[in-house]
Symmetry: C2
Subunit: 304 residues, 2 copies
C-alpha cells in the first residue's frame, strides 16, 4: 500500500468522477456516466481495481455525493443516498458497498460540501473560514465549511430552497418560481431548467448572451447570496456551476448583492472588493473530486 494514496469519488446525477490521489492532488482520474446504480458502481469498483494494480492500494475512500444523503453516523441508513427522485437511486448504500468491497475507511458527505472542502484546502477558499460553495446548474446546492469541517446537522444545507423576493428585472412578469415545492425559492428562479421554462426556451443555453434572463438570474442569485452572507458570515463565497459560466451572471450577482445589502454590512471585503468576496472556483470543475480525496484523507486520519 502507498503511504498516502486515497480514492476519491464525486458521485453526480449525470456522471461519477473517480480519482486516485493524495494530499498533493489527483494522480489520475476518470469520468463515468451515471446509469443504474449496479452498472455505475460496478464500473467505479472496476476502475479502482484496475488502477490499484498499477499504482498500489489506497488507504481510504472519500465520497462527495448527490443527495439527499444520510450523514448521521448513528443512523441505520448512514452513507446512503435517500429520497432522490432519480430512478433506481433511492436508498443506495454507497458507503456500505465500497467499504465492504475494499475494506478501508470511507468518508462521506454531500457533493457540495466536498467541493467546499476541496476549494478551502487547494482552491479559491484557502485561509477562508467559514467558507461557502454554491453551485448553479441543473439544480442549486450549497456546501459549508466551518472550522475546517463540512457543516451538517438535522440534514445538510439545502440552499437551493432559500426563499427570496421575486426578482424585479423587467421581462418575465410571473412572480412565482418554477420549483414544484415552493412559490419563491432560489432554485426555482436560477437553475437551468427553471430559466428555460421561465423564458420559454428548450434549454437555458439557447438564450442569447444579451437576454434579460441573465440579469434576472444575477438578481435572484444575489438575493440568495445575501441570505447566505447574513446567516453564516462566510469569509468568502465561491460560486460555480454551468449557469454561472453564462456571460454577465456573476458580475450581475455581485452588483445586485451590493445594491440589495445597501451598505448594511460595512466591511471593505463587501463594500469595496466584492469581486474577491463572490468568486469563481479556483479548481475549475475539479473542486468536488479534490474534496472527495480530502474526505478520504480525513476519514483515514479519524480511523487511524
Amino acid at each position: 500500500m502507498s503511504d498516502s494514496l486515497v480514492a476519491g469519488i464525486e458521485a453526480g446525477g449525470t456522471k461519477f468522477v473517480v480519482a486516485l490521489g493524495d494530499a498533493g492532488g489527483i494522480r489520475l482520474a476518470k469520468s463515468i456516466d451515471t446509469t443504474t446504480p449496479e452498472e455505475t458502481i460496478g464500473r467505479v469498483i472496476g476502475w479502482f481495481e484496475e488502477v490499484t494494480r498499477v499504482h498500489g492500494r489506497f488507504g481510504a475512500i472519500g465520497i462527495g455525493s448527490f443527495g439527499p444523503v444520510d450523514l448521521d453516523r448513528g443512523s441505520p441508513s448512514y452513507g446512503s443516498i435517500t429520497t432522490t427522485p432519480k430512478p433506481g437511486w433511492q436508498n443506495v448504500p454507497l458507503v456500505g458497498i465500497l467499504a465492504d468491497r475494499f475494506g478501508v475507511p470511507v468518508g462521506f458527505d454531500t457533493d457540495v460540501n466536498a467541493a467546499a472542502l476541496g476549494e478551502q484546502r487547494h482552491g479559491a477558499g484557502r485561509g477562508m473560514d467559514p467558507l461557502v460553495y454554491v453551485t448553479v446548474g441543473t439544480g442549486v446546492g450549497g456546501g459549508v465549511i466551518v472550522n475546517g469541517k463540512p457543516l451538517h446537522g438535522l440534514l445538510h444545507p439545502e440552499m437551493g430552497h432559500l426563499m427570496i423576493p421575486a426578482p424585479q428585472t423587467p421581462g418575465v412578469v410571473d412572480g412565482r418560481c418554477q420549483c414544484p415545492f415552493h412559490e419563491s425559492c432560489l432554485e426555482g428562479f436560477v437553475c437551468g431548467p427553471a430559466i428555460a421554462k421561465r423564458w420559454g426556451v428548450a434549454k437555458a443555453a439557447d438564450l442569447a448572451a444579451d437576454s434579460p434572463a441573465w440579469e434576472e438570474v444575477g438578481e435572484a442569485l444575489a438575493h440568495g447570496l445575501v441570505n447566505i452572507a447574513v446567516t453564516l458570515s462566510p469569509r468568502r463565497i465561491i460560486v460555480g456551476g454551468g449557469v454561472v459560466k453564462a456571460p454577465g451572471v456573476l458580475e450581475g450577482a455581485r452588483r445586485h448583492f451590493q445594491r440589495i445589502l445597501n451598505g448594511y454590512l460595512r466591511v471593505p471585503q463587501i463594500t469595496d472588493d466584492v469581486g474577491n468576496y463572490l468568486v469563481r472556483p479556483g479548481l475549475g470543475d475539479e473542486s468536488g473530486v479534490r474534496g472527495a480525496l480530502e474526505l478520504g484523507l480525513a476519514e483515514w486520519a479519524r480511523s487511524g
Copy 2:
C-alpha cells in the same frame, strides 16, 4: 479567588444584566439601565467590585454584547462595539476596559451568540448542534452554535436582514418592509417598531390579540426560519424575544414554516413534530447572561 467563579455581562441597548456565577449557573445578578457608556460601564464595574468583596474574586469575564461588534482577535478594534447607531456607543472598547480593570481573561461575543450558547449548555438546546437562537424584539438577531462554539467569520450573523418574500396575509398591502436599508427583509416586517409602523399603531403591544398583524408576523418569521433551516441545517431553532410572546405568533410561524417548506425537508422533526423544532427559550430571559458566563468559562480555559 473562588475556584470557578466567573462574571457574566449581557450588554444590551436598553439594559445590561450582570451576574456572578459558575458552571452550575447564576449566584446573583442585577439589571442596570443602559445610559452613557461611562455611566453604564462605571456601574457594571462598581457592582462587580461590591459583590467580589462578599463572594470572592472571579477568574474571568464573559460578555455577550449588542452590536455590531468586532470579534476578530487579530483586529485593533477587537472587543469593541463598532458602528452602532446608539448615541455615544460607537467604538466603545468593552473588552479592553474590563480586562484592564480586573486583570482577568475576557470572553466576548454577540448577545445572540451568547444566548445560543446558554441555551445549548443549560436550556432548550441541550444535545442540539448546530443550534440557532433567534430573537424578535425591537430588532431581530440570530446566534449560531456549531460544534459547541459560537459561529462568526467575516462579521457575525445578521439574520435580521434575511431577504424574504413579502407576506401574503391579507391586511397591509404594502409589499415593502420598514427597514431603512432594505426593501424586503425579515426585521423590516417583524420587529416591534416595524409592526407598529406597518399597522399604524404607536407600539406593537397596542394591537389586539386577534389582529391580523400577528398572523403576518408569523408568516414573515416563518420565511426567515425556513432560510435559516436550509442554510445551517440546525437540529433545533430557539425563538425568543418580546414579539414572540404575543399570542399565536410562534404557533403561526410553525404552521407557515411547514406550509412554505411544503414537505421538502422530509424528516420527522419537521414534518411531524415542528413544535419541538421551533421552540421557546428554555431559560426564559436568562439565556443571554447564562451564555455570557459560559463565554467567561471558555475564555478562562483557553487562557489557562
